[in-house]
């Protein structure tokens, strides 16, 4: 046997001992640093992101964006001489873990506000804890309407830094009907994702209102590898456009396999498409004749300062999650500038954000919905490059 029984026991006791030690160590730390938001010359904010698990690629990028925003303000001398300190927690891509992480940030680390998580379900999960403790949350990329609203009332402590799903579905349906003169459409939806389903629903409503017809609806599940069966069926529908509101990993494979099967129709998507991986997976040629809407266009002048700073810091191009994480950080920092480290005042300050310049443009917070008022862009894929097709200005 590899482990003798005695050795095995010894190992178990050692492991148990280590665990106990680390628990005590944890306790000591928390009573030491806990007083009220760290020591007097720093303000502690929480970063609660999906650093592991299924959505780690979104969460970890958003966390990097946030860190950059905080680093910039600290390098510039902080706020009234106080540095901002980020305490990171991992929501592990699970709703329950997101609540645990938020609870830890609030009660152990005494943060004055939280940024994150990236994914809708995890933000919704933590919103009760945050509200109970009167801690403001700025969610960078959670686009589901229910994030900030519950039973028709806006959740006082929850804000976001992005537009909402219905706006995306609506934009793409208008674009298909008006710009592309499409008459028929197929929906191909990730049935394991609320994001995908809600975009599909709104797209269908708007598209049919504009006189188009949705002739077929098919579904897949996140992490699927093979889409050929459903795509073979979709091909028979011969529709003008195929709307695939999904995340980039699946999108890349769907576009690739669709083109392999000889589907030449225009394919449309939303912000889940906004990642260089789509082109890497699908190939440049397959991506021609596809359009998607997203939060910003990297060629836009307003975005250059952020993009250059991000490249200098991390030596890679930011993706859309990094950009929104940065924006959320900027919003919170702006609020702390006027409110200091008083959580209640921070909430008010975020609500009153007006014409703030962030990484992707200029935003104003809508007090009724806690959604920022900001523009939306439609991007065309041309030989592996993004080109700006239309830019829809913010309403109201």
């Amino acid at each position: 046997m590899f482990f003798g029984k005695k050795k095995f026991k010894l190992a178990a006791v050692l492991a148990g001992g280590l665990l106990a030690c680390s628990m005590f160590a944890g306790c000591g730390e928390q009573s030491g640093g806990g007083a009220s938001g760290g020591n007097a010359d720093e303000i502690v904010i929480g970063s609660n992101f999906e650093l592991t698990g299924n959505h780690a690629q979104y969460g970890s990028n958003a966390a990097k964006g946030l860190k950059l925003a905080v680093k910039e303000i600290n390098d510039a001398g902080g706020i009234d001489g106080k540095k901002i300190k980020i305490v990171e927690a991992d929501s592990k891509s699970e709703a329950a873990e997101s609540v645990n992480a938020a609870t830890k940030l609030i009660s152990d680390d005494k943060v004055v506000a939280i940024v994150g998580p990236a994914v809708t379900a995890n933000v919704i999960a933590e919103s009760q804890v945050a509200t109970d403790n009167k801690i403001t949350v700025v969610a960078p990329a959670a686009t589901n309407p229910d994030v900030t609203v519950e039973g028709g009332n806006v959740k006082p402590f929850i804000f976001r830094a992005c537009f909402i799903d219905p706006q995306q579905g609506d934009t793409m349906a208008q674009f298909a009907a008006k710009d592309l003169n499409a008459k028929t459409a197929v929906l191909y939806i990730d049935s394991s994702s609320d994001y995908s389903k809600s975009l599909g629903k709104v797209f269908k409503e708007t598209f049919e209102k504009e006189g188009g017809q949705v002739v077929m609806e098919e579904a897949f599940i996140a992490k699927d590898q093979d889409f050929k069966a459903a795509l073979t069926k979709i091909k028979t529908a011969n529709a003008d456009v195929i709307f695939v509101p999904a995340y980039y990993e699946e999108v890349g494979k769907i576009v690739k396999q669709a083109r392999e099967l000889g589907i030449t129709a225009v394919m449309l998507g939303a912000d889940g498409w906004d990642d260089v991986k789509v082109a890497e997976i699908a190939g440049k040629d397959a991506l021609n004749n596809t359009f998607f809407c997203t939060h910003y266009f990297a060629g836009d002048e307003d975005a250059q300062a952020f993009i250059n700073a991000y490249k200098a810091e991390y030596n890679e191009d930011p993706n859309v999650f990094a950009a929104l994480g940065y924006d959320a950080g900027k919003m919170l920092i702006e609020a702390i500038k006027t409110a200091g480290n008083d959580p209640e005042k921070i909430r008010e300050a975020v609500e009153n954000i007006k014409d703030l310049k962030v990484g992707t443009g200029v935003i104003t917070m809508n007090k009724e919905t806690h959604n920022p008022i900001k523009g939306i862009v439609v991007i065309e894929n041309k030989d592996g490059e993004y080109s700006l097709r239309t830019k829809i200005a913010p309403e109201g």
């Binding site: 095995f8 579904a219 699927d224 590898q225 069966a229 459903a230």
Partner: protein, 294 residues
């Protein structure tokens, strides 16, 4: 004609998807056959194999076949190490302990890999990519490649298990470990070798799938692992040709359900098959019902 055309294309889709399930199911079935362990970590061994293949191809600029071989060798060693460290100490423990350990190993592999390679999916460079368009039916070079390799490996394995001395020792160990030991068979070594072969197969599947779908990520093994398990049960767990037949049947059923009923029912159909097989013929399509002598 249109219906007929779609039917043929769906059969092609189904067989190619099914050969991937079959390739993973072969390893599952080998390991189950010898120690009656449903090795939940098998899907993750497959993932590790895909990553080793990926690094060989992209960082060391190897062609496909040497990369495939390296991945198979390294992953084979990993399989033996897992067996030695995680399962062997539990050889005489209740079946449930070893099953739970397998789930633990699965998480361990997933998150260790995630730590080292980051959760971002990696893109395989496209290698053997040529698509044939025969009378409107699309067949892809990689699909043919995977199908051929699956059949080839099944034939080699069946030969090893049925005709060689090693195979005889495997069958004896599987039948009754203790009696086999009394007859002079080193069953620890045989079990270890079986894990090695199972993992080598998983690595082959991992690299081929990486090339075919051209992305890999640390959690890529979970769903194919489950589907391969269904395939192995469908064909009769422990039986090599059964695993291949089960995989291909499963792939074809999925394609037909997605194509002619609805893609939302696809996975439901796969798991409904598992339940039906367990109800009607628990030993699987190719399985013989054996009466256990007490």
């Amino acid at each position: 004609m249109d219906f007929f055309h779609q039917l043929i294309q769906q059969l092609i889709n189904g067989v190619s998807l099914g050969s991937i399930y079959a390739l993973i199911a072969l390893g599952y079935t080998m390991i189950y056959g010898i120690i009656k362990l449903i090795n939940f970590a098998h899907g993750d061994i497959y993932m590790v194999g895909a990553y080793i293949g990926f690094f060989s191809i992209t960082f060391w600029n190897m062609p496909v076949l040497p990369a495939l071989l390296i991945s198979m060798v390294v992953t084979g060693c990993l399989g033996m190490a897992v067996e030695k460290l995680a399962y062997k100490p539990l050889r005489h423990a209740p079946r449930i302990s070893i099953l739970i350990t397998a789930i633990g190993v699965s998480f361990f592999l997933e998150y260790t890999m995630m730590y080292f390679v980051t959760p971002t999916p990696r893109t395989f460079p496209s290698m053997i990519s040529f698509a044939y368009n025969i009378g409107g039916f699309v067949v892809n070079g990689q699909q043919i490649f995977i199908f051929t390799i699956t059949l080839l490996l099944m034939a080699i394995l069946t030969y090893i298990v049925q005709k060689t001395k090693l195979g005889k020792a495997m069958r004896a160990t599987s039948f009754d470990t203790e009696t086999a030991q009394l007859m002079g068979i080193n069953s620890d070594k045989i079990i270890s070798l079986t894990f090695c072969i199972g993992s080598v197969l998983a690595a082959a599947a991992g690299v081929l799938v990486g090339i075919y779908y051209n992305t890999i990520d640390p959690l890529m093994g979970i769903m194919p692992g489950l589907k391969a398990f269904v395939a192995a049960v469908l064909g009769g767990i422990g039986i090599l040709p059964g695993a291949v037949a089960g995989g291909i049947i499963l792939g074809v059923i999925e394609a037909l359900v997605a194509g002619f009923i609805s893609s939302t029912f696809r996975d439901a159909a796969a798991f409904a098959i598992l339940i039906l097989v367990l109800l009607i013929k628990p030993s699987g399509l190719f399985g013989k019902s054996t009466n256990e002598k007490v």
